[in-house]
């Protein structure tokens, strides 16, 4: 394996894992504080049990997210030293603020986990809120740094030199808001549906139904609201990309030739050689409308760009289809959930729970697919139109060894965390009502 491929795969692999851990660690505190709030209000012991069960989940995922994040902060330099040498000072600001937010989160977590019956009730609850807010802030800041790679700004690039650096402008690059909004909603959707699915399974199996129904409702309320809002954010993102990274949009849609009134392809199999998309469903003029709000607008095709400036089209196209497809399903499921709150008898139907069990992994699949669209769609650039990924990779040979090591460690880690979660739930179910 080439050094560049190994480095890219290692980065992709560690990011795929970190994203899952980080999202759960970022969103679950919100579930926890809602349950905690209900316990303080109603003094219903089930909410206390639930809060304490979720808090263990938060602690475990915070740590796995934190250590995999520490590893990533080093990997940026270890794998892409040339990138960090130039980009480090420019995009340092969101990272230094992220460090601060992360610190606040760790402090708040210390207070929360160890503060039961020791701190004043309201202050203790409030430290839980801080965990959630600083977690989301961390996420947004890191995504802002990624946004800069897609829309580099805050410097002048003259003769291969990065001059007149403005770190604030770099942080508030044109992509930061759309990406951060899309990602935050995605994190809530994915975690909401995943957690709800796990509790739905417990209800399906008839274990501590009262407790798990409370858990299901809290988690899914967050997930459903986010899923219903997500298409709006997706639309903003699409229009943004159409303007800033037209080649990425073209790859997402496997749109080869520039045309007016471009159709939207749904599904299909891409043949990169013949530049054809087979077995697709085409909606005339729709791509033009979605990208520019006008059915007749011209959408640039991949052939307008030099061959060595295009990403891997089939991969980006399939990932995009998966993301949008799942997004649609989850939005409908979210609506269905709100209807079900009015129709109590649905809760007695086993198919209802089966449905939400089946949805559990989908949010995370869509989230990973979305990141594949952003990251693979940015290739061959590490900094859009400024620096190529191949020019940024470490001169140290043999990255493939470190790649396999990471695969081994992270796979083991995920199996262990899953196993630990199963044990938590078993113990929770074994407690008396």
């Amino acid at each position: 394996m080439e050094n560049l491929d190994a480095a890219r795969l290692q980065m992709a692999f560690t990011l795929i894992f970190h994203i899952v851990f980080a999202c759960i660690g970022m969103v679950m505190p919100f579930f926890m504080v809602v349950s905690h709030y209900k316990w303080l209000k109603t003094k219903d012991e089930l909410y206390l049990t639930l809060t304490k069960a979720w808090q263990k989940g938060v602690a475990i995922f915070f740590v796995t997210g934190a250590v995999s994040g520490t590893a990533l902060s080093f990997e940026l330099g270890l794998l892409w030293p040339e990138f960090m040498k130039h980009a480090g000072p420019i995009i340092g600001m969101p990272f230094s603020l992220e460090g601060a937010a992360f610190f606040v989160e760790a402090i708040a977590l210390g207070f929360y986990l160890y503060g039961w019956n020791k701190l004043p009730e309201k202050f203790h609850w409030f430290t839980g809120v801080i965990i959630g807010l600083s977690g989301v802030a961390s996420g947004i800041l890191v995504v802002a740094a990624n946004g800069w790679m897609n829309s580099p700004s805050g410097f002048d690039y003259i003769d291969g030199q990065f001059l007149n650096i403005d770190p604030v402008k770099a942080m508030l690059n044109p992509a930061w808001f759309t990406q951060a909004l899309h990602m935050t909603l995605a994190a809530f959707t994915a975690t909401g549906f995943a957690v709800a699915g796990i509790h739905a399974y417990q209800i399906f199996k008839g274990r501590r139904v009262a407790l798990h129904t409370k858990a299901f409702k809290i988690a899914l309320t967050f997930g459903a609201i986010a899923a219903i809002l997500q298409p709006i954010s997706g639309d903003i993102s699409a229009k943004d990309i159409a303007e800033r990274q037209p080649v990425k949009l073209a790859a997402m849609e496997a749109h080869y030739n520039t045309e007016k009134g471009a159709p939207l392809y749904i599904g299909g199999i891409v043949d990169a050689k013949t530049q054809e998309v087979k077995y697709k469903l085409a909606i005339p003029g729709m791509l033009s409308f979605l990208a520019f709000g006008d059915f007749d607008a011209e959408v640039k095709g991949l052939n307008d760009f030099p061959e060595d400036e295009r990403p891997n089209v089939p991969m980006v196209h399939y990932a995009f289809q998966i993301m949008v497809g799942i997004g649609g399903v989850l939005m409908l499921a979210g609506l269905l959930y709100f209807i079900s709150l009015k129709k109590k008898k649905w809760f007695a139907n086993r198919k209802y729970w089966l449905f939400f069990i089946a949805l559990a992994p989908l949010g995370f699949i869509a989230l990973e697919a979305g990141w594949i669209v952003t990251e693979v769609g940015r290739q061959p650039w590490i900094i859009h139109k400024i620096m190529r990924t191949k020019d940024a990779v470490t001169p140290m040979p043999g990255i493939v060894v470190s790649f396999y090591t990471y695969i081994l460690v992270y796979t083991t880690l995920s199996i262990a965390v899953t196993w630990l979660m199963i044990r938590q739930i078993k113990v929770l179910n074994a407690q008396n009502n």
Binding site: V63, T64, A71, M93, G110, K118, P167, V409
Partner: protein, 345 residues
């Protein structure tokens, strides 16, 4: 503003060495304890480190972020030439963090605890050794700048800088220092009448720190490592080292008298003096390579970047430090109250 940034760089390095070091050391102390004492130590570590250990480890992230933002050229040498030991440190940090959480949060207590404990102890020892080897690598004089690598083998460029006798000695010295810090911290935290375990450990650790430090220096001096030869010619560095050694006297007096806060202050001050000695002798030439010394201040980021970073650090510090202080203080107060209640019952 550069001075603000430098202050935070050294400040976070120092805090990481002291707080993170004591944290690693806890695992080392546990490792070298008898089976019965291991159980006691495990409980004590959880009580002492539980609320703060995550915060302790964030200092290294702050450190690395400051390095890459403000001193990109310096950071570049670090991540390219010391890729391998840094990767091992990362794996160690990962396994250690996971093991810590697993052993305290696993809902079922069974034989898997043995695995978590082993993971925790081994990674607690390996990680600081390799971290020390990174420090050692930077000052060993074996680093080859990438511009000159073409005729050299993989071993010479990517392995020898950190995998040599001198760097390994520095690694062992750093691990011993961690164990020392941790034992001093644990003395004040143990349940009543268990202090003797840690007083003994602190004594052993003091001796090991002294021996590894002495061997490192002698080896460096005999083989004319410029880090050591410059160091011994610098009067300030020598004074700082002597002071650090002399502090052992008040340290042990305060330990014997059970003044735990003071004894910790002395131990922290000792580490500060050691760090200071190394810095005054060499600043800003922190990397010593085969051909030349690389100054931390070579090719620093532009003024605008330093300014924004400095402001961010001041604001971040103003938010974090009081919070951290309050966290440490609250749980210390709680612990003191608990202890008081226990003894009165």
């Amino acid at each position: 503003m550069l001075y603000v940034v430098l202050f935070f760089l050294i400040f976070s390095l120092y805090l990481y060495v002291v707080l993170g070091g004591a944290d690693y050391g806890a695992g080392i102390v546990e490792m070298f304890s008898s089976e019965e004492n291991q159980k006691i130590t495990k409980k004590t570590i959880y009580r002492v480190m539980g609320p703060v250990w995550e915060a302790n480890h964030i200092w290294i992230i702050i450190l690395i972020v400051i390095l890459w933002i403000a001193f990109p050229a310096y950071y570049n040498i670090l991540v390219v030439n010391l890729h391998i030991p840094l990767t091992i440190v990362l794996l160690g940090v990962t396994l250690r963090g996971v093991a810590f959480v697993f052993r305290h949060y696993d809902a079922v207590i069974d034989n898997s605890q043995k695995l978590y404990d082993a993971m925790f102890k081994i990674s607690s020892l390996i990680t600081p050794i390799f971290l020390g080897m990174v420090f050692g690598g930077l000052i060993s004089g074996h680093i080859v700048l990438t511009e000159d690598v073409s005729n050299l083998s993989f071993y010479e460029v990517f392995i020898k800088p950190w995998c040599n006798v001198f760097s390994i000695l520095v690694g062992l010295f750093f691990a011993a220092l961690c164990a020392f810090l941790s034992s001093v911290l644990l003395i004040g935290e143990s349940e009543a009448r268990k202090e003797n375990i840690y007083i003994r450990k602190a004594a052993i650790a003091t001796i090991v720190v002294f021996i590894t430090g002495l061997i490192t220096f002698m080896y460096g001096y005999i083989n004319e490592y410029s880090f050591v030869t410059i160091f011994v010619r610098d009067p300030y560095a020598i004074i700082a080292m002597i002071l650090s050694g002399l502090l052992l006297i008040p340290l042990w007096i305060t330990i014997k008298k059970g003044r735990r806060v003071l004894s910790r202050l002395f131990a922290g001050l000792q580490v500060f003096l050691i760090l200071l000695a190394a810095l005054v002798a060499h600043f800003p030439n922190i990397i010593i390579t085969k051909t030349e010394n690389v100054s931390l201040l070579d090719n620093i980021a532009p003024e605008s970047v330093i300014k924004v970073l400095g402001i961010s650090l001041i604001i971040g510090g103003a938010v974090i430090l009081p919070g951290l202080f309050h966290l440490l203080k609250s749980f210390k107060m709680i612990k003191i109250l608990e202890r008081h209640n226990n003894t009165s019952i």
